[in-house]
Symmetry: C2
Subunit: 596 residues, 2 copies
């Protein structure tokens, strides 16, 4: 089985040295979120993830979830319920939820290391509390007062969990096609009828109640995505006074057999005239849904990061232990029967790729998380708007790139093990199987790419990109006289100009042909992701040098940054070249001729 130990040094470096979150917290009024509170919290989170969750990871994979057809109940893997109890008792559930709803009121970004650690330790388990945050967010921003009072506190404390019931058999990406009906019933409630699929944590034995947030159509709803409303539908009915009543007419009809995350309950949920309550305005459910979705997308990005981190740790250990062949430049360990494979440039290529993507990805992910706090709490409207623009721009990059890099890193890490990586007992193949879901749910990578290229770049005229490019420019100007940073700052500034030019060229062509957007989207997403990481790697070197971190750590940051600029950033060349060929090579082939 693979091991896991939380990378506390790099997590702290990212929060405190690189992002300097303490300055932000002071400005945002999070007076208690000082290092004296956060540091021990990180230690305790590392203990919980490493000693409670991580040991259950393999059992979750082997046992999976058990569905009982007669009762419609789902039993989670041994140990999952007890771990969940410890999770809620430890107060982890409401870490960054507002204190007024029972949370600890810490900044959102402080919750990100916890999420990362949970994902590294046990991704399948992490899916049970994951969507509670989004459900709570939706209720907080769109629910009525009584709904907040009745449901929100329970979700924040983790006493109940939440779900997002969006997808139906015939529609996932295109929710405008959904068919689930909501009909007015007594007492202002609605009767919900329809089938939802792929419902994460739709049914389980961890909590006495489950709060489903369900998209459905009212009788007078216009067709398409403008006729969708959001409803809260608890597993056990809840009155306006909070009293829990009888079983609601919602039932798990099956659990899916999947490639990975076997310990996560992916449910078919049948609503058969279930009692539900409208959340927000009629027909405006999609907007409320996006409140949930954006939270979830950052969370899924961190799933990719968490798996990549664990994969890297194990590949590194194995590469140091496994003795096989000699270095091409002569034995490095002549006293051993062979050199450890970490002396091989190709093994280092795989390890360094993981390290560069994991640590750079951590900066990207946490920085996006900080924007959640800034967008909500910054002092000026201008600052809040900038943070919101930046968050909108970064969210598809976090979801799209961190998950694809998670797949890539689990791939490389497995490959470092050779044939042993394919065998279940080493645990590497589970990480690879688990990672594979992250590029699919909460919007596929293709959907993230369209969100970045079409909505965030074209429709919003690149507002978030401009903010980010401003950060790049400011950093480059600030470091202009620093000879120790010149090897990074020069290429970064040059590539940033290229990025801007490339974006404008796409926009110009897209004005004449909307297919340009779809044709460029995938490559633009990754081009942008690698550019964002180039910025973070350059800044990481600067932050490490300015920090009190040990010399070996600072050396590692510099050498990994060099690796990143030499070996990863050139991927942008291929993405740029592909973008510049436009839609024709993608669209010319007749549909029928694909297999002529």
């Amino acid at each position: 089985m693979s091991s896991y130990s939380a990378p506390l040094r790099d997590i702290r470096f990212t929060l405190f040295d690189l992002l300097d979150v303490e300055s932000s917290f002071a400005r945002l009024g999070f007076d208690e979120a000082g290092r004296d509170l956060v540091d021990p919290m990180l230690d305790e989170a590392a203990r919980f993830a490493g000693t409670v969750l991580a040991p259950l990871n393999k059992a979750g994979d082997e046992h999976g979830v058990r569905y009982d057809k007669d009762s419609g109940s789902v039993t989670t893997a041994p140990g999952f319920a007890e771990a969940y109890r410890q999770f809620t008792e430890g107060g982890w559930s409401g870490l960054s939820a507002p204190a007024e709803f029972g949370g600890m009121g810490l900044p959102h970004v402080v919750g990100m290391p916890l999420e990362e650690m949970i994902n590294s330790a046990n991704l399948a388990w992490g899916n049970f509390p994951l969507l509670s945050h989004g459900a709570a967010n939706a209720l907080q921003h769109h629910g009525e007062d009584w709904q907040r009072e009745v449901f929100l506190g329970k979700l924040v404390t983790g006493e109940w969990t939440g779900t997002m019931c969006l997808t139906e058999p015939h529609c996932g990406t295109d929710l405008g096609l959904l068919k689930t009906r909501a009909e007015p019933a007594a007492d202002g409630a609605y009767s919900i009828t329809g089938t939802k699929i792929f419902i994460t944590a739709g049914e389980h034995d961890l909590t006495p109640n489950i709060v489903h947030l369900v998209l459905a159509r009212l009788p007078d709803a216009p067709a398409g995505s403008k006729g969708i409303s959001l409803f809260v539908v608890p597993k056990f009915k809840v009155g306006r006074d909070g009293a829990v009543g009888e079983r609601n007419a919602v039932r798990c009809g099956a659990v899916e057999h999947k490639m990975g995350i076997h310990g996560s309950a992916t449910c078919v949920m049948n609503f058969d005239g279930a009692q539900g309550w409208l959340v927000g305005q009629p027909h405006r459910g999609l907007m409320a849904m996006f409140t949930m979705m954006n939270t979830a997308r950052l969370g899924v990005g961190l799933q990719g990061l968490g798996l990549a981190e664990r994969a890297l740790q194990n590949a590194l250990r194995y590469a140091r232990e496994r003795l096989q062949s000699r270095s091409l430049s002569g034995p490095k360990y002549p006293d051993r029967p062979a050199d450890p494979i970490i002396v091989q440039p190709d093994v280092r290529r795989m390890l360094l790729t993981c390290k560069a993507l994991v640590e750079g990805g951590r900066a990207l992910g946490y920085h996006a998380g900080l924007q959640v706090d800034l967008a909500a709490h910054a002092g000026s409207e201008e600052e809040r708007r900038q943070a919101d623009d930046l968050l909108g721009f970064l969210t598809p990059i976090v979801k799209g790139c961190l998950t694809e890099w998670g797949v890539e890193c689990t791939y490389h890490a497995l490959q470092c093990f050779g044939g042993h990586g394919y065998i279940a007992e080493h645990g590497m193949e589970q990480l690879a199987r688990d990672a594979r879901i992250t590029t699919l749910y909460e919007g596929t990578t293709g959907i993230q790419a369209l969100d970045l290229m079409g909505r965030k770049t074209m429709q919003l005229q690149g507002a978030g990109l401009k903010v980010f490019l401003g950060m790049v420019q400011a950093f480059c100007e600030q470091q202009a006289g620093n000879a120790a940073l010149a090897e990074f700052v020069g290429p970064l500034a040059e590539k940033a100009r290229e990025w801007q030019g490339l974006t404008m060229a796409i926009a110009k062509r897209a004005a004449g042909d909307p297919e340009e957007i779809g044709a460029a989207a995938h490559d633009y997403l990754f081009y942008s992701g690698y550019m964002v990481l180039a910025y973070w790697w350059a800044r990481s070197v600067a932050a490490a040098e300015a920090s009190s971190q040990p010399q070996a750590f600072r050396d590692a940051k510099r050498e990994t940054a060099r690796f990143y600029f030499a070996r990863i950033l050139p991927r942008t060349l291929a993405h740029k070249a592909a973008i510049e060929t436009g839609p024709a090579p993608l669209l010319a082939l007749d549909e029928a001729a694909f297999d002529a």
Copy 2:
């Protein structure tokens, strides 16, 4: 479950239009291997793969192999044994084996479509007959007369299967470390003792005997890879007269639990003083092993191809059926509730990537297979040597690239299904899990890269590359006046010069620093793979235009070639840039500082 129908049109196009194998067969003396024989054989192979093997694929995944600890026996999935009986009765086993040993005496390249179809239909099943070819090859070229008489015929007809027992727990890549001992016994036999792992088809219930080819050390063996000898060790002892005797002291100790190919028996084999016979010269076993290995490497390359083909077929079907959202340039099917996702540029990007890699990869793989025939049967020594050089150059590309592209294509194809791709019932995730082994066994991708860069390019001074570049040059000159090919021939000629220059630059730097080889190897492998495919795509357009294939097929070749040059070939930019940064970014970081 995923479906499969053999792509007979493209297989025939590749064999007859593109490679013009009939001309080669006539020159090589394969008088009977005309189209009148091969065409119906392909039909029958397609029927066998599609109707006998393909339906067992999912059952093999679900059932796996059952190991009985008490008897050490292995039971294969339901239907596997019956399918194997049909396979041998149909004469498929010895298709391209010499007639003097009971084979059909057809060219090696004719067996490649059969292998591809088997791999598409049921990779796990295909692993049972797969290594018999290598075992037979080793005995044919290195065995004594009586060994050939006793074992070879049985392997050729498939009455018995063969294995390659190389890997031990502490050594896979570095066979010089192996510990299995061979001690002289009575009658010129040897007593073999040791443990081998990852032995494909090491034990099963398909045939009454199994012929293990085992690497072991003689008592006087020098240390390292020059002290390894090859032995033939049957499961049931066989006398020099061919009489089958008692059970030999070789026993399956366990079967591995793996990420995929569950239906394939991956065995721990314990040799406890088993009777074995020396094959070839003492201490020269590694050379004999390479005879097996090279055959197996081409075979594993075709595994990647086969899985990619099946994945593409299913993704294409799904992309045509799945209705979701509208084209960005307006509804393409206004009469339907949404457009099929195949109208989306990003879905087409994934499908076309698969199509370009599969069809280009088929040309690459079959062309390499043709070199096996030319190297053995061409009229002049010069021609045989050229074919052998080319085969040596192409083998790591076939193994390395076709398997990595197999992983990539099964990835894209699963992604086309969205969340449904992750669910077992659609069969896409099985293809992805099965594909993952191909980059690991028979030498990881890193080993293929070192073989190409270190041995085939540096040590052999690029002899095979020169032959290939000669083909490219001849084709470009031949097509120089063809305006319809200019869009491909121009870039191909230019990139070929770049390839040559890049190779020479690496060689020059490697003379001063051997680490250059390991640092360049991975990127050079893929740079070369994409260049080889660029050649085949340009030639495919030319061959399609000159053929009597339907217009839609010819259009598809041209548009896919355009896609390839626009969207795939630019990957070489990133590989070239990475190579040019040399070893420093890979080697500078201290081993201990990776997780400082």
